[in-house]
Symmetry: C2
Subunit: 339 residues, 2 copies
């Protein structure tokens, strides 16, 4: 900018005024300055600007795994929304690891991001501390955080799983395997509650041996399914509370020589792009990824626009059960119905 000012024989203040439109500058000088900008190929240095202004027009976004199709989609929507608003987004993947997450959030705050969207991991203690003393607006995505009272957009997970499990029960299933991630994050906790609620509502016993915990990964779903299927009284249906794990479930079913839906019904959380193309077409709980991403972005953009004092807003969206053909009625039930 100094060079531009010299070339146009004006002060840097005038150049700045013209560029930002913060003060009127005469047509004559405007022209000289614009010419100089073109000649020199001047680009404003956003870092210097950020230092002075105290704002970077950059936000941080952390998700556990970007390869989880739910997060892929949400990240995509969020990125687009902020792009439209002229913000850059720094993406971090925490790999479901608490320390990684802490490091990354610190990294983002060091870089003075203007705001944070966090699909958190682990317990909320450090997140809370970080959020409290850095005074950037934070919106929680997908996962609430005890003690962190801030904007959030989540799904009504309990209801969504309740609906899915109830659907399986209506098909005649009585022993329904349930594969979940570790329950220290709210969605897993709430989904489990939905499972239990549905069984109770149908007066079915809750068999703890049918509930299997994994660490969100395909291999965990595989192992859990193997255990479920090799038990002597195996379930007739399996619900996987997370998308990557259901792949493991399907592989285990295949490897053990069974087939879905003939021998065992399967449903899972999170829709994916291939759901209705390949066989079996998977019955899933679809999250409104577009809405989730947009709402999260809007909440944060609203704060960034200056609305800092409004009380925390918690948006709860509804999932939708996408019934396809990976779940079949149990024969016994079909008979009793036709009897």
């Amino acid at each position: 900018m100094l060079h531009v000012a010299e070339a146009a024989r004006v002060s840097v203040a005038t150049v700045s005024a013209l560029i930002n439109g913060t003060a009127t500058v005469s047509p004559e000088l405007s022209q000289r300055i614009e010419q100089a900008i073109r000649d020199i190929g001047y680009k404003r240095n956003a870092i210097a600007r950020s230092l002075k202004m105290g704002t970077t027009r950059t936000i941080g976004l952390t998700v556990p795994h970007i390869t989880n199709p739910f997060f892929t989609d949400v990240v995509s929507v969020i990125q687009q929304a902020f792009d439209r608003a002229g913000y850059a987004v720094m993406l971090c993947c925490t790999d479901e690891d608490l320390n990684t997450q802490d490091d990354q959030i610190r990294l983002l705050l060091d870089r003075m991001v203007d705001g944070l969207i966090v699909a958190r991991v682990g317990d909320g203690a450090i997140l809370k501390a970080i959020v409290d003393d850095a005074n950037v607006p934070v919106v929680l995505l997908d996962r609430l955080c005890e003690g962190v009272d801030t904007d959030a957009v989540v799904l009504d997970n309990q209801r969504a799983v309740f609906d899915a499990i109830t659907y399986l029960i209506d098909l005649g299933h009585r022993r329904i395997g349930y594969i979940t991630g570790t329950s220290d994050i709210s969605p897993m906790h709430d989904r489990m509650a939905g499972y239990r609620e549905a069984l109770q509502a149908a007066n079915l016993p809750i068999a703890e041996e049918l509930i299997r915990f994994g660490n969100f990964h395909e291999i965990d779903g595989y192992n859990a399914t193997m255990q479920l299927l090799s038990a002597h009284d195996r379930p007739s249906a399996i619900f996987s509370a997370n998308n990557p794990m259901v792949i493991g479930t399907m592989k285990a079913i295949r490897d053990i020589g069974l087939s879905c839906p003939e021998d065992i019904s399967v449903a899972c959380f999170d829709d994916f792009r291939w759901s209705d193309v390949f066989q079996p077409q998977m019955t899933t709980v679809a999250q409104p990824v577009q809405a989730i991403g947009e709402q999260a972005a809007n909440l944060l953009l609203d704060r960034l626009a200056g609305n800092r004092e409004a009380p925390p807003r918690k948006l709860v969206l509804k999932g939708r059960l996408m019934i396809r053909d990976s779940c079949r009625p149990l024969r016994a039930v079909v008979q009793s119905v036709s009897a």
Copy 2:
């Protein structure tokens, strides 16, 4: 930092020296400073540091669509690699749009990213201009760019498609539909070349009506397939040069009342996580996403480490044909073989 210095009764220079380890500071002062840092909860301002140092420890990454599973995986790997190296990554999705890409690259350069990894879009003119005058290292990902002579990691696309088409030919297919994205980017161009080469090598005619262009999206694959299948002399196999489009292909096949692989064989570029779980298990050309991401990251990290003068390095990796069961031998061939 000023506050810390005052609290510890030292100069800011000493604080800086301690924090960065750039000079020895006596145990006594060290302790006072560390205490002050803790008391105040001081965090170094990375923006101010960047301004002074001329480096942000941030890189920019642009891809056309993060929801394309190839890019999802590569982005994931790249993000991890830079995270390990202490870099942040700004992610941009260009949506296959040239103007968007230009805007985003400018946005990134304004923010003084230290380097750029670009899976480009459109023609390379502006990209070239941008890359030339911003003097940040750039590595091209997946797609080369005419006139931009810089580090790159790409696939041997021609060979990969050659192998896939040859496989189909060996199965007895003679009329093989080919669905591609617009050929102004190198992978599409090279893949097409592989298609033509394979047909020529087998002395088969190249029927231009079997070649369909789309814009990388599912709907384009759908439309292209509809056209191919409603022609009077329809192909017995279809190869889709891009992953999202193959979903459209499968939907079109279903909607038109055919089935894969019984009525028509299908193969496509880019493997996906569900390939071997659902039916038909798709025969694909798998890219070594892990290697691609790591190599791209390494090339850039090497430049960032100071190796600016080395001549441009172009890494060409090999694809791998994953034969599953979405392609069947043509009956005629089976008969002639058994005859």
